[in-house]
Amino acid sequence: MVTHNFEDDELQENLTVAVEGQNLIKASLFNMIVIADSVQRALHCQELVRLVTEKFPCRVIFVQSDESSQADFFHTEHTLQSIGTGTNRVCFDQFIIESSINQLHKVPFLILPNIMPDLPVYILLGHDPTLDRVILPQLQKDANRVIFDAESIDNVQRFSERMLAAIHDKHTDFIDVNWARTKAWREVLARVFNDRDKLDRLDQSKLIQISFAGRTIQPQPKNEIQAIYLQAWLASQLGWNLLNVEKEDGFLRLSYRAGQMPITVSLVPKDTDALEPGAVFSVEVMTHNDSHFLISHERERQHVAVHSSTTERCEMPYTLFLSNFQRGTALVNEIFYQPLSEHYQGMLQALNHAAWGQSL
């Protein structure tokens, strides 16, 4: 790894010298601007960057600020990272900008000249994009898409409302990492409820319990976001009306109405280290006509086991592949290459409901 300060005029010379004589191929498939507003989020984003760059070498411009700090600082650094080994070793530029809040306005001006022309520009935000007032407005028009991690949203209803407006107004592709992470479960549910009878039974649900990886003893504040997305997606696709959201023992319970039938959706954290925090662990559906579906993650496997029974029959249990959208190439493909989803917008509309109140 070679390190330089990149504010000076000798940057280009330094970049060239860093590669010379090392028989390294320098590669950049796109520009990735990462913006994190706290030390904790910066660590989270660094992990995402690592996941991306281990498969896709790209020019990384990492901006880190700290909203909680009163200090006045502005540091820049250029490093040359490499992936692969031997003749397959390629390197790419990583720029790091650490800025205090009061100097953030400088950042876009430092970023713009260092974007590689002719290549896509992706902005990866570690926080709610609708709240970014300083950097994003300056860069958004040059970005191909804005990817954000909604773990940091503060209020579901406000977030969905602002997000829908942003999608409508900004003409930018917004990609929500947590929505991407629910893709595997959305695919699984589409496969399980794949005929009219099963869909009818799902529509006649009495109780849907979605378990997700989280701490039951000391609940993490935003771990339930993937579970929230998954149930809101179901509700939006099946046309259920949200009546009420309440917290019971710190767990979310949502009441819907499908036609004349009441549906309760319960989001339950499960203390497990088998999955990434927030990842959905199981979906259990109990219907008004006594059908039962249990789809649960199989420990140490990339599969879910599906058990289903009705009053008339009990199906043989079977397994379905659960694509790993928590990390790796699948996640990268999902956040960089999939277009803005109509289902995502439908889900946001389902979330944009006053019933949420102060529940989240």
Binding site: V90, R186, E187, N194, D195, R196, D197, F321, L322
Partner: protein, 515 residues
């Protein structure tokens, strides 16, 4: 209980990949090499990646007596040996192996098909495969008609116009016929039981990632399509070079030869993808309509001047990769005075508005110096008024589409060498699939099997494609059969083919690309 059909599932996203319907895949010729080396590893990898339907089973059908367990053990070993991802996932295998079965029968035995029908119904009941069937004919071509006739007679092939709640499809391995007449006869015979949309004629080259990328490269990039015509393109060369000989396939090769085995099917598929007009959409029939138009536009080779357009060759003893290599006539199961060709070079013209006057040079050979398959589009020279002293005739821009190995695309352009003077040298801009996308592309058979499960026939050859191609080449095959070559073997193993092939291209002032 019969479930109601679902026209559209609200839980499926339009952007999501299609979801495969439950089905049973029956492989005829399940004890053969293709099943072990390609089919089962492909099915395993589809399962591993979650592409297969959740309600799925695979039945091997062959003549040798074998238990389910024996077959599973053999397939386990085959997957362990030939799968692109190793080692085998034991947990996955423990459940997947339960979905693999073996059914022993002669291909012409009625009782065997009746038992198969009963067995498949048991599987439907146990695995929820809903009566959907794929029959993969991985047998010698001489059994195709018999198997399809028996399947039809025993109700295993459904009439697709009358049966709507379940489907049956048949994958037919190549070669589809031995010449035009036999291909017609095979088509006529199987049409009694199968509609065209139930027949999947496999050409595994079409499953290769780079071949599929041809359409994207051509029609997804304005820079290429705008120059993709006789105004800018000088010629096109398609090369299929193998360094291996016929090996253990001497008996098969004696009946086939290079023109039948590679040129008539694989190379004509490549040529039609390179030369076709933009389709109206990317549906299977729209693409195949355009490919057929190209085949119809190829100028028939005049038999009285055959040597000016088509060259055949056969390798003699030589050296490949520094090792002595046998000649074709010394290979096992080969006639010692065989006239079967192991090398073909062709000059073809496509008589349409886009390609008028542009020669397409095709060459395919065994025991050439290296393994390589590529399409090279050679552009016309820039006017030589400025740099003509530095640019030689062969410094034209070349766009190379590498099919295998090292899949990718390279563009040769001329560049000034740094310094005070103005020397110019060609340089390459190179795109490699492996290093760019960082993931190994799936095997061709994986793509083709899952496409059949999904009912997508885009990457399979249609009846008129196959017959039109046979129509072009059958007269040449007949002439070559009539006129005995006087110079066989005419190239040593490890060289780039016979002298006559060089002369074929040199007559127009061109030369074969050095690979």
């Amino acid at each position: 209980m019969m479930t109601k059909p679902l026209i559209s599932n609200p839980l499926e996203e339009s952007t999501a990949s299609k979801i495969a319907e439950p089905c049973v895949l029956v492989i005829f010729g399940a004890t053969g090499d293709l099943t072990a080396r390609k089919l089962l590893p492909a099915i395993y990898n589809l399962k591993r990646e979650g592409q297969l339907p959740s309600h799925f089973a695979c039945v091997g059908f062959a003549r040798r007596p074998k238990s389910h367990e024996q077959f599973r053990t053999e397939m386990y070993d085959a997957i362990n040996k030939y799968s692109r991802v190793k080692p085998i996932d034991q947990k996955l295998w423990s459940t997947f192996s339960e979905q693999i079965f073996y059914h022993m029968s002669e291909f012409d035995n009625d009782a065997g098909y009746k038992n198969l029908d009963n067995f498949l119904q048991e599987i439907d009941a146990k695995f929820g495969t809903k009566g959907n069937r794929i029959f993969y004919l991985s047998t010698p071509p001489s059994y195709f008609e018999t198997i399809i006739q028996k399947l039809g007679a025993h109700g295993l092939i459904y009439n697709s116009e009358k049966t709507h709640n379940k489907w049956s499809r048949v994958i037919v391995e190549k070669p589809f016929g031995h010449d035009l007449e036999t291909a017609y006869e095979l088509q006529r015979s199987i049409s009694e039981y199968l509609k065209e949309d139930q027949i999947y004629r496999i050409d595994h080259w079409l499953g290769k990632e780079t071949v599929q990328n041809l359409l994207v490269m051509r029609f997804g990039n304005a820079i290429f399509e705008s120059t993709w015509n006789n105004r800018y393109i000088d010629s096109v060369q398609i090369t299929v070079s193998e360094d291996i000989g016929v090996g253990t396939r001497g008996k098969f090769w004696e009946e086939a030869g290079m023109l039948r085995d590679i040129v008539q099917n694989h190379m004509m598929q490549l040529l039609s993808l390179v030369a076709m007009e933009p389709p109206v959409d990317i549906k299977a029939d729209s693409i195949r309509d355009e490919k057929v138009k190209v085949l119809h536009s190829i100028r028939p080779i005049p038999l009285q001047q055959l040597d000016q357009f088509a060259i055949r060759g056969q390798y003699g003893p030589g050296f490949v990769n520094g090792e002595p290599a046998k000649g074709y006539r010394q290979e096992d199961n080969v006639n010692e005075s065989s006239i079967v060709e192991s090398y073909v070079a062709l000059q073809l013209f496509i008589d349409n508005w886009r390609w008028a006057g542009v020669p397409f040079y095709l060459r395919a050979g065994k025991r050439l110096p290296k393994k390589a398959t590529e399409i090279a589009v050679i552009f016309k020279q820039a006017p030589g008024v400025l740099f003509n002293r530095s640019c030689r005739r062969d410094d034209a821009n070349v766009l190379v589409i590498r099919i295998q190995p090292d899949e990718g695309i390279a563009l040769r352009i001329n560049s000034k060498v740094p310094g005070i003077n103005n020397p110019i040298q060609p340089v390459r801009m190179d795109f490699r699939y492996g290093s760019y996308f960082g993931v190994a592309p799936p095997e061709a058979y994986e793509r083709l099997i899952i496409d059949c499960v999904l009912g997508d026939s885009t990457l399979f050859a249609r009846e008129d494609e196959v017959l039109t191609s046979w129509k072009l080449f059958t007269p040449i095959l007949e002439r070559w059969q009539e006129v005995r070559p006087h110079d066989f073997p005419n190239y040593p193993a490890g060289t780039w083919g016979p002298l006559a092939a060089d002369q074929l291209i040199q007559r127009s002032g061109r030369h074969w690309r050095f690979l």
